[in-house]
Amino acid sequence: MSQTGNTQPLLRVENLRVEFPTRRGTLVAVDDISFHIDEGEVLGVVGESGAGKSLTGAAIIGLLDPPGRIADGQVIFNGKRIDNFSYEQMRRLRGDQIAMVFQDPLTSLNPLYTIGKQLTETIRTHVSVDERGARTRAIELLNEVGIPAAERRVGQFPHQFSGGMRQRVVIALALAANPRLIIADEPTTALDVSIQAQIISLLKRLCREHGTAVMLVTHDMGVIAETADRVAVMYAGRIVEVGPVQDVIKRAQHPYTHGLMGSIPVIRHDVERLIQIDGAMPRLTDIPSGCAFNPRCPRVFEYCRVERPELMDVGATRAACWLFDEAREQAGGAR
């Protein structure tokens, strides 16, 4: 593995734009977003369905389903630009350097092959070992992700595993080649809470031990709160706020983040009514001009409808909202 300078983030996404050309015009699913993930860091990406969070993950590792395509911007991994990689180059990068964990563990495993076969195949694709070595490594991996009786289980088929165990196998597959970045797309959504807790602590432990960076895509703020170091909040294909997880959750700046946090019921918090954001996220076909959140925003003013705000520093986080531009103007005076 090549060593990069400390200042260089592991993954840098700059002005990424994902489009879907359709007969009726082009849909912009991810609109000009930029973020970075440092080595060993867990970046949470949250948002409601249709916010573009999964597409962002898919775009990074070149798994966009056609006709979806990266229309603009670049993805820089480990100092190298990867968004213009050929299919073959990308295939080699996937699994080796960047691995993916999907929501549904049953569909990410081949039902016709044993777990051991799938693991050894992945290991031998990326690491030069013989069959026996790969098998030993497979058992090691299964042990590492906490599957009991790994020697016996390695010969079993996916249907013989429960949901939680399957997700562990998928994580073992992702770890097979010691990747430097794991993109986990809703890894716990299909699981029950007690199993979810097991998987979260497993992911956290593995990151700590291997120094793997994780991009954790989920709609569950609780999971983010416990797992992520930083969090990016997405709305209608844009990042509206990004910052350290504590600050975003407790001192949300953007009105959308604020509303989102308030709409989550919390145990032992007695409120008669939850904060509610009226309306729904706009469809991709009619995203309003200016700030995409302006029709639902309680603090909207004229300028929000005219121009789209960029991310700007607000306290410990960065938020894309004109409210803070004004505040800064007043504080700073000249512009």
Binding site: E48, G146, A225, E226, I267, Q276
Partner: protein
């Protein structure tokens, strides 16, 4: 809580599903019938005008309870009292109908529970027509408009089809349909699980508002403890077909007794607990076809002893809760702090 202010009262309610192999296989392979005890002796009281929630992980039988109560399944054993009427004694259609229209159900999936070929106004008018509550096209149309406004939609939305609405709006339509027969009791089976959090907040606020307005009683089924805490007055925790603990929600969340309740409360990722080191409980829900003997939770329970392995615990009054746990009775459990942080209560993964 005294039993007489309960609108719905379940006692020893059970439902077995026959999951045996076909007759010939049983004969040749000399197998016995195989029963899946989906619901096994559930006894709870749902007080009038309040919300009772059932929580538990998938496969614990909470949805089966909902379907039993509303009459979609016939119980194998036990009794359902609705407003002191024993549902099993109602035989003829004429006896059942007046009771049926007093309870309605809201389902989880707002995409599957509305007929895509019907206009919204017809969907909402169906219970009115079925129960012959109103007659005359104009009267019904006016009532449908009224219902749509009550759930936060516009009366003009009635002419649209379900596909023209978002998930949250469809769930509002489901609620409007449920309210159409002016029921007293609503059974809500995971009504917000398919929705995004901001939409979920809208629906929960709507449901609370309607409850205040009409004095509705809810049986609320969910796996999300935070949602349950927000909406409920009483909470029951289910595990493999049995209610292991039920209580007033504050008591349950502040002083959980049953080790499974404690485990569930500890397992939820919480906004307050950023960066917290959790100790997850080992193991998974066992196969309900061959449940463990004695207390179903004993293989995962850190306090299990021989009695737990052999003897089925029954619900016993403990402070303000009803708990089915031998360890609680024998005072073998460590105390839980009010913050809900069960000290060392969980086994290491």
């Amino acid at each position: 809580m005294s039993a007489n202010d309960a609108l719905v009262s379940l006692s020893d309610l059970s439902k077995d599903f026959d999951v045996s192999p076909p007759f010939l296989n049983r004969l040749i392979e000399r197998q016995d019938r195989l029963l899946l005890k989906a619901v096994d002796g559930v006894s709870i009281d749902i007080p009038r005008g309040r919300t009772f929630s059932l929580v538990g992980e998938s496969g614990c039988g909470k949805s089966t309870v909902a379907r039993l109560v509303v009459g979609l399944y016939t119980p194998t054993r036990g009794r359902i009292l609705f407003d002191d009427i024993d549902m099993a004694t109602l035989k003829t259609q004429a006896e059942i109908e007046p009771v049926r229209k007093r309870m309605q159900m809201i389902f989880q999936d707002p995409y599957a529970s509305l007929n895509p070929r019907w206009r919204v106004s017809d969907i909402i008018a169906e219970p009115i027509r079925a129960h012959k509550l109103l007659s005359g096209r104009d009267t019904i149309a006016r009532r449908v408009g009224e219902l749509l406004v009550q759930v936060g939609l516009a009366a003009a939305d009635g002419v649209k089809f379900p596909h023209e609405f978002s998930g949250g709006q469809r769930q509002r339509i489901s609620i409007a349909r449920a309210l159409a027969s002016q029921p007293e009791f609503l059974i809500c089976d995971e009504p917000t699980s398919a929705l995004d959090v901001s939409v979920q907040a809208q629906i929960l606020n709507l449901m609370k508002g309607l409850q205040r307005q009409f004095g509705l009683t809810y049986l609320f089924i969910s796996h999300d403890l935070a949602v349950v805490y927000h909406i409920s007055d009483y909470v029951g925790v289910m595990y493999l077909g049995r209610v292991v603990e039920w209580s007033d929600k504050r008591a349950l969340f502040q002083r959980p007794w049953h080790p499974y309740t404690r485990m569930l409360l500890d397992a939820i990722p919480d906004l307050e607990m950023t960066g917290r080191q959790r100790i997850p409980v080992a193991g998974e829900v066992p196969n309900p076809i061959h449940p463990p003997t004695g207390c179903h939770f004993h293989p995962r329970c850190p306090y299990a002893n021989d009695r737990c392995r052999n003897e089925v615990p029954t619900l016993v009054h403990k402070e303000s809760s009803e708990v089915a746990c031998h360890a609680v009775l024998e005072d073998r459990l460590p105390e839980v702090t009010v913050s809900g942080e069960p000290a060392n209560a969980t086994a290491v993964c």
